[in-house]
Amino acid sequence: MKKQMTDFRVVAREDYLPNFFVLTLQGGEPLDEVRPGQFVEVAVPDCREVMLRRPISVHDVDVEAGTLSLLVQVVGRGTERLSQVAVGSTLNVIWSLGRGFSVAGERVLLVGGGTGVAPLLYLAKCYAARGVRPTLLLGGRTSGLIPTLSRYEPWGRLCVATDDGSLGERGLVTEHSCFAEPYDHICACGPTPMMKAVARSARQRGIDCEVSLENMMACGLGACLCCVAATDEGHKCVCREGPVFDIKHLNQWMNE
């Protein structure tokens, strides 16, 4: 798919405490080729401290309405500024980038932690379009750190794990009762230790597994080689050859 740079209009902004927000963007371009797991590079407007674009996953796509949503957590200067953009203003976005999820398998588990839940919504919808109802296992330190839960409900069996037990089962996602059930495909996105734990377990159980890596990026286009992950075949650009990788190529990464 051709990469594009487009001025999108912010048509909605929803805030989720403590520090998450969802931006819904409309750009007048057809979005039917956007794949789940792909990301966009957002130019942070009017912010002198931030020069480079910020990579953000595709959270949701409504092909008919022509809207693209991003779920963002405020962690620093750029995301802070993005949390303040007004409805009606424009955001310059390069889209859609990278290799997304394969949407393969019949008994599917989607695991997300923190903002790693972001790409799983559109992914679950794409599974639904194939007639597959995945198990959605979302985790966080506490219930407030799993934003927008209700959006996921229609698209799979929703399971929740929190470190403090404030919602769902207490403990890590890999300790959740649904995690041990038989699956033929697992997709994971979230903090690196979580993804590694999920990937190691999948490898051990012989289940196909994809993980979405979030390395720091400069160009997002495969040109600068700043975002590399150490795969079994050497350094690969997360922005172009990922962000989604089959764990078959990540043995070294899993073992680290």
């Binding site: 390395n215 400069a218 160009c219």
Partner: protein, 307 residues
Amino acid sequence: MEHISNEPSLQVRVASMTLRNPVMTASGTFGYGEEYADFVDLGHLGGIVVKGTTGSRREGNAYPRMAETPSGMLNAVGLQNVGVEAFCSEVYDRIKHFDTNVVVNVSGSTLEEYCQVAARIDALSAIPAIELNISCPNVKQGGMTFGTRPEMAAEVVAAVRSVFSRTLIVKLTPNVTNVVEIAQAVEEAGADSVSLINTLLGMAIDVERRRPMLSTITGGLSGPCVKPVAVRMVWQVAHAVKIPVIGLGGISTAADALEFLMAGARAVQVGTANFVDPTVSVRIVDGLADYCRRHHIADINDIVGIV
């Protein structure tokens, strides 16, 4: 009837290489050009300088390799590339038809490696020039050490000169006390042109985690923050050598490019700015034409070195 003025001429020459306009893209920031194909018509650029190419494949440094800093960034890529053989057998066929000057940035750790790579590239007739990178701060040996001592710089340039027949550009590091003496040494040794600046050695610390931001601790600083340093060095060098100078460092607008031209650069390269706006190189070309029209400049060469 009023006479319609001609379009300004933007064409420049760098030794035996003719550029349709002075705007090139900088090595390591534009991949092999293909990465930007959806955004830039390469036929609108003066040239592109592709990734640093070494004697054999290099994996580069460990992640993290990048940190954003005020108006700039640090990188520590460490010359990750496929190596000259794979460049010749795979990459070259894909990029040789590009409608622009495709310049190969030649890097290495030893004099022999520089010569080996340059000699292989000499056999590729669609490559009009090489840019000898004696200024990379991100590799342990070689790289910048060649570029910080006039005798060593002269030695490597003379050796490469004897194996490369077309335009030989030598890329200089700003991490020296006296850039002029290095420029004069490489001119003397047979360079056809010098380009400057490569990145400035820098460092950033993550105070929350109490550790350096880069896996290599230090890295190369680029982007708008380096521009005044680069303009100063280009101005100094342009006054001290006869060969054409290519200016770069922090260019992100046509006005930035004009500063370099006025300081004495015959052509410019755009680097980090490509990450922010992938179309920026073409916008700078348009901006230069616009400037010439507004100021009634018929030939862009007329403003080179006017300051």
